[in-house]
Structure formats: C-alpha cells, structure tokens
C-alpha cells in the first residue's frame, strides 16, 4: 500500500468506529487509532543477542451520553471487537456521573484546511544483517575506548514506523505517519565492586541523521571510563550544574507543574502562577509544535485540537499553562492544544558553552545522572540520587557517586544562575545545562 492508501484506510477505520458509536446511541464520540511496526536488533560482545519484530495496532474510543463519559480500547482488529468495545464504552457512560466539563472540544478548535507539513515520515528498510552490523560497530567502538572496559550490556539498533489517527463526531479526522530510529549502547568499565556502567545513544526521525555508530560507541566508552573511582563527597550546600543529559528532565517537572490536570487537582507547586515570575527575568521558554522532522511535532493534540506555537515563559514570567479541553473547562480557561503533553519545548540560553558553564560553577557538583522518584509535584520538594563529577576551580576534579541533591523546584527555578548553549538534539524538550545555586548535596 502507498502512504496515501494507508492514510485512507486508517481514516476510513476511524469513520467506521464513529459510525458504530452513533448507531449504538452515543451523542458524541472520539476515536484514536494507532498502528506501528518495527525491528529491533541487539548485539552483545559481538554476537546477536535478540532480534525482535514488533507490530502493534489498536484503537481507543471515548463516548458521551450527554455529559457522561465512558472509554474503552482494544488491540483486537475484528469487526466483532469494534462492536463490543463501543458497547463497553457506552455501558460505562451509563454509570459515570454528569460532568459539566466533559465533552468534545468546540468544533472551531479543530485544524482548518490541510494540516501543516511536519515531514516526520522517513522509513528505513533496514534488514537484520545491516542492523546487526551497525550495532556491532557501535559496541566495538565502545569496547575499544580503553582496556579497562571489560564488559558490555550490548548495543541495540531499533527502527520503526507508526501511524496515529484521530477523529471525532464533529467530522474532524486527521492522521500523521511518523518514523523513529535509534542506536544505543551500554558498556561496563572496571571490575568487581568497582564496576561502572554508562551508555550513549542517537535518535532521529531520519535514518541518515543518526550519528555515526562508532561516534556513539566511543562516547559510551569514554563516559563509562570517566566514572571509574567515583566516590561520595561531604555533605555541603553548593551550586549544582545539571548537565545536558539531565537538564531536560528538570524542565519536565516544570511542564508537569503547569499542566492542567495537576492544576485543577491542586497537585502543583505552581498553582495560580499565571503572570507570576517563576524564572529569572532573562528566561524565555517556547513551544514549537510544527517543526519539521522534530521528535515532538504534532498538528493536533489528543483532543483533536489544532496545536499552535506559543511562549510559555517570557521575561521569566509564566504566560501560559498547558491545557487540554477538559482541564481548561475545569479552570474556566481555553484549551492550549496540549492534551497529551508538550510539543517541542525550547528554552533560551545565556551563550555559554559547557566549559564556560563549568567555569561559572567554580566549585560544586556537576550532575550527569539522576536516580529515583524523589520529586513531590504538590510541594515542589526535590531530593534525588545523583552521580557526576566534583568541580574545583572550574575544572573536573573527580567522579562522584552515592550522593543526593535536594532543594525545592520553585526555588531552584528562581535560582537558575545560567543556561548553557550545549543542548542535546534532537529531543522533545531541548535544554542546555542548567546551573542552580544553593542546593544541598548530601553525601558522606
């Protein structure tokens, strides 16, 4: 089938499911259909370890009886399963309560005319032999970095394509094909109780845009060796530099805190923060949902609402929450096209490269890995396990492990001293290293 034939078939299926819902008595309905297939090959110590062929499909439906909602989903593609799944969703809607905020988005929120060209579909007809060779080269490069690298968790090449289609009873139907390819490797340096593991990866929608396998491998090897001899440091209140491997995660906590679901549940440390200073005044954070080939791009969100670019933070002041149709109604606001999350978040930088950021840190902790779930979204209390490097006089002194870094996210964002221009790309959240003053590092 050509791409256009696949699109027609998928959108027709959306239409059939919506018709079934209407026939069974739903007042309104929305349907998401997904389909994906891929190949994943892992190599360990030069030998193929696993070859996985993936192929998934399924649909989910939400139906409304007035303002009562029910949802159901299935991976079964038979006509009988469509009937049964719609019936189940309707049965649930007979037991749920009237909810004034429930219901489809207003029709004028749907994309108008043809969807923006996102260019997310770049299939790679990679066979097992080619995938094996790439993974093998990647792992070999990692193992070859240093004789102290004696073991490996292997290298994996994955390539997949997926379709996502959405339609609702307003008559809107949209679909987007996308591809995603990645190569990753993880190796172990040292022996016995002194072993250290680290990894590296490359990911892109376009196969040719992946980093060269050997480059990824060498990075993993160098990272693992750099961790050898890691030790705790003494407990201290010092500045912490969140390196570009972990900084996007920190911005992820900001995204969660301004997301509608957490706001209407009063489960955010940034309640009523719209129009308030939440970062230092030079910070700008933007969302760009229509970037061609980007990992987070989408023409419409999980409610079928057209996405649009916007400034979330300007001059350090919060300009917009991230809302779905439901959370917006609960907060008496308008949807921002963020049902399902954020699309390509970008933060401004202060023009400092990584070395300049280290120099600015002076004396403190560079964090390259975070562990655990010690983040309280209600209060912003932050306490996580960390590994990285101790920095003295702006230079790396020695690797560090078995410490925690702690603070409060609201204060950490305000104490953001500098943002590096060393962001990793591509990513849905692209963010350089972040230097934050006054955190507690707990160690020996």
């Amino acid at each position: 089938m050509t791409l256009e034939q696949e699109r027609a078939a998928l959108e027709e299926r959306v239409g059939q499911i919506l018709a079934e819902a209407r026939q069974q008595g739903a007042d309104a309905a929305e349907v998401g259909v997904s389909r994906s297939e891929g190949l994943s090959v892992s190599v360990r110590r030069g030998e193929v370890e696993t070859v996985e062929h993936t192929r998934d499909q399924g649909f989910g439906i939400s139906v409304y009886l007035g303002r009562r909602k029910g949802s159901a989903s299935t991976s079964d593609s038979s006509a009988e399963a469509v009937r049964a799944t719609v019936a189940k969703a309707l049965n649930i809607a007979r037991f749920t309560a009237e909810d004034p905020a429930a219901g489809l988005a207003d029709p004028e929120c749907m994309p108008k005319g043809s969807l923006p060209k996102l260019d997310l579909y770049h299939p790679w007809d990679v066979d097992v032999a080619t995938a094996t060779e790439l993974a093998r080269s990647c792992e070999a490069a990692a193992l070859g970095v240093d004789r102290r690298i004696g073991n490996s968790e292997g290298a994996t090449l994955s390539s997949g394509r997926s379709w996502r289609a959405y339609g609702n009873s307003h008559g809107f139907v949209g679909s987007e094909p996308a591809t995603r390819h990645s190569l990753s490797v993880s190796v172990i340096a040292g022996e016995n109780s002194g072993m250290q593991r680290d990894y590296a990866f490359t990911i892109d929608r376009v196969p040719d845009a992946l980093e060269v396998a050997e480059v990824v491998g060498r990075r993993a090897g160098e990272r693992a060796v750099a961790r050898l001899g890691a030790r705790p440091v003494a407990t201290a209140r010092v500045p912490v530099l969140f390196g570009h491997d972990v900084s996007a995660g920190l911005l992820g906590h900001f995204v969660a805190a301004i997301s509608g679901g957490n706001l209407y549940r009063r489960a955010s440390f940034l309640l009523d923060a719209l129009g308030r200073q939440v970062f230092p005044d030079r910070v700008v954070i933007e969302e760009h949902p229509h970037l061609p080939r980007a990992l987070g791009s989408a023409a419409f969100d999980g409610d079928g609402v057209a996405t649009r670019g916007k400034r979330l933070v300007e001059g350090g002041v919060l300009q917009s929450y991230l809302l779905s149709v439901y959370s917006a109604r609960r907060l008496e606001l308008t949807t921002t096209g963020n049902a399902g999350g954020v699309h390509n978040l970008r933060i401004s930088d202060d023009g400092l490269d990584f070395d300049a950021m280290l120099a600015r840190l002076g004396r403190g902790l560079l964090v390259t890995e975070l562990m655990g779930q010690g983040v309280n979204g209600v209060t912003g209390d932050y306490s996580r396990g960390a590994a990285g490097f101790w920095v003295e006089d702006g230079a790396i002194a020695h690797p560090v492990q078995e410490v925690t870094v702690a603070g409060n996210l609201a204060e950490m964002f305000m104490n953001l001293d500098a943002i590096g221009n060393d962001a990793l790309r591509p990513g849905n959240i692209v963010c350089g290293s972040l230097l934050i003053d006054g955190m507690t590092v707990s160690g020996s």
Binding site: E47, E49, T50, V51, E52, H53, T54, R55, D56, Q57, K69, G70, S71, A72, S73, T74, S75, D76, S77, T85, N91, I92, F95, T96, A97, E98, D99, A102, N151, E153, S193, M195, Q196, P232, T235, R237, R265, R266, A267, M371, G372, Q373, G374, N376, T379, D381, S383, R384, G385, A387, Q401, E402, V403, T404, A406, G407, T440, S442, G443, S444
Partner: protein, 481 residues
Amino acid sequence: MTEALELARQRLLAPAELDERALEQVLHGMLGTAIDYADLYLQYSRSESWVLEDGIVRDGNFAIDQGAGVRAVSGEKTGFAYSDELLRPALEKAAGAARQIARSGATPGALAVRGSGPPAPLYAGDDPLASLPDADKVALLQRLDRHARAIDPCVSQVTASLAAVHEVVLILASDGTFAVDVRPLVRCNVSVIAERGGRRERGSAGGGGRLDYRMFLASDQAMAWAEEAVRAALLNLEAVPAPAGSMPVVLGPGWPGVLLHEAVGHGLEGDFNRKGTSTFSGRVGEQVASKLCTVVDEGCMPNRRGSLTVDDEGTPTGRTVLIENGVLKGYMQDKHNARLMGTAPTGNGRRQSYAHLPMPRMTNTYMLAGEHDPEEILASVDRGLYAVNFGGGQVDITSGKFVFSTTEAYLIENGKVTAPVRGATLIGNGPEVMNRISMVGNDLALDTGIGVCGKDGQSVPVGVGQPTLRVDAVTVGGTAH
C-alpha cells in the same frame, strides 16, 4: 487446571479456530537442529478502571488485549515476534520471523509435549470485573470520597480508583511445557490533598491482590485506606525539612521492603549475573549482608499481588532463598538464563505481555523476621531517621547504588520518634547497606499489594515485605544541614 484449560480454549483457541494440536504444529515447524528452545505464549486479558474525582465518577475505562508471542532460542541468541491476531496464519508468520535467528540446520527435532501435573492454582479463576455490579463500584468510590472528606475539613481533593484485570495465558514450549493460568488482579487507591495555612500536601494509600473487588469491602478495608491517606496528608502538613548526611535509619515493616527489592533483588536476577554485569555477580557463597539477614523471593503465596501459579514460561513458582544468614545463596532465573548458567529455572520468568520477551523478575521479595522488639530498635538510635513509607526506588545494578524516597518519615532523637520530616531520597550501595543491618525486628509484614516493578521498559506487579530494620548508616538526602 481443567477449569482453566476450558477457559483458555474458550477465550484463546476457539475464536481463532485453533486447538492444542494446531499450536503444537506451529511450534514444531520452528524447530531445527540450531534451535535449542522455542515457545508460544497466548494471552487474553480484560481490564477496567473506574476513577473518582471531585466527588463524581467521571470516567471509566475498559480494555481487551489479546495476542501471541513467539520465541526461538539458539545458544545466547533469541528471536522474537508477536501478533495481535491469534489466527493460525498470523502465528505461522510470527514463528517464521522468530526462527530466522538460526537459519542454519533444518532437521526438525522431536517435540514431546507432556502435561506434567500442574500445580494447584494460588488464586480463584473467577472474573474479578464481574465480582461487583458496576453501580456498586461507583457507590464504593463515592463512599470513599465522603469518608475521606468527613475526617478533616482540610481535605480539599480526593481521587479514588478501582481497577481489575482478568487474564488467561496459555504457554506451549519445546521442552514439553504445556501450561494455562487464569490470573485475577484488583487494586484500590485513594489519594488526597490536604490544605492548611497556605501549605498543601498529598497522602495516598491503597492495596490489592489476586482476588476480587470483595476484598475491599471485607472489614471495610477500602475505608481504612481512605483514613490512612488522610492521616498521611495531615501529618505531612506538619513536616519539617529532612536532615542531610549519613546517619542511622530505622525502616518500618511492610512496604519499606522496597529496600530489599532495590538493594539486592534486581542485582540477583539471573540475566545480570550470567552477563557478569551485577555487583553480586560470581559471589554465591559470599557474605553479602549482615548475619541477621535472610531474604527470599516467594511467588507461591496465595492471592498476593506478586504471586503466580506458574510464571510466564510455565514454570511453577516457588520459594527461592536469595540470602541466608547474610550469605548469598542463589539467583532468580528464567529458563534461558538458567540453561546458559547450567542451573534450574526458579519460576521467575516473567513478561509484561505477549508483546514482550520474558526475563528474570521478582515476585514477592521479603526478609524473614528477627528477634528484636521494634520499640527496642527505635530506642537504640540517638539521632537518626525513622522511615515508615516510601514512594519508589531505583538501582544501578552494576555499581550497586540504589535509592528510595520517603513519603512518611520522622526524626529519631534520643531513642524517641519526634517530628515528621518532608520527603527525602535515601541512597546507598546494596551490599554495604545490607552489611550495616544491625537489628531485625520480630514484626515481619508484607505490603498491601501496590507494587509495580519496571525493568527494560516492562512493568509487572510485585510484592515486598520486611520486619522493622536498623541500618547503622545511610545517606539521607534532605535539605537541613
């Protein structure tokens, strides 16, 4: 077995016009001289969840998932494919893709499927989704909401949920395994937000197991969790900043057993040890914990969340002693890693679904009781932390570093439990921390049935447990320094 087998035939085989003979033929078609092992895993699951927010049940979800995973193993190589259709052509196609792992050698080996005496089921096979009328599920959630709000006017938000899964699996393998298992699983959760004087805090509680919804009604169990959630939220409104630095920590009984799951459990899974990537690799027979510690993984406890009558490779679960009096005794194994390590599978081969490969996973992991009175353990600490509830944890099995984060903890001052402290992450090295366990309580408890374990992107339900423990030094990641 007969009842389970009947259900498996009805749910998995009949709709696809399959029978056991057809499955055997698919399996047989995969075998060649270069294939050491092959298996088929057929799964049919129905699940539902009901969620209450702001006093109303505003959404519910129902899902049916079905499919078959096909695996072929040749030496250390594994080929894997799956299909969401159970029809024979789809199974043949998946089998063809999986067996490409070893193209060489085409002489089919002998396949002897034997119905060896299956273990007695550890749970009833009845459908938990049908154990209460839908209207009663909604009513139970509304009662939870009213009950939580009535306890204290500071409670501003209540979220409560009910969830159930009914799963039928059928496993056929080239080593003669033929197993079916019908697995129920239910869960109830209550989460509240309390607000007072400009502060807001959350408290959560819940539980479940391989039973049905009626377990939440017995002795008003669900209402007790609502009370527990409110108590935790109100307590945290009073919490002071947690201390920072290395100090003695007393861990409460039950769910704090997540310590064992992270500090030793993952590091004792067979795959990591076969590959030599775990800090515990090659250390069987060595002292890896203090002499007071005996840790087991027990998948055969009736009705528990982490239990399975047979694992996802059809091996009956059992009780595996991991650490006995501090000495490392053995690892948790699936078939693949057991074969390559020359040992026996322990019933720990688990997978998230038909679309995932099995690997060694924990079931219910806990430490046996010791001799100390919990009061005596607390009284032994001059200055330290008493941690009674936790969120999640994580481990780097290679370096042995692990973390787990408190959601309810107190300062211990001069042997007395004093102020509650805000959430903090605890970090340590598995073998080091286990060697610093200096007192073990006589109050062994298992968790209430809330654990989810993630590994390589796959989630499975698990259980943990322990008695009250004293660890002489752990790094506590607070802000008060």
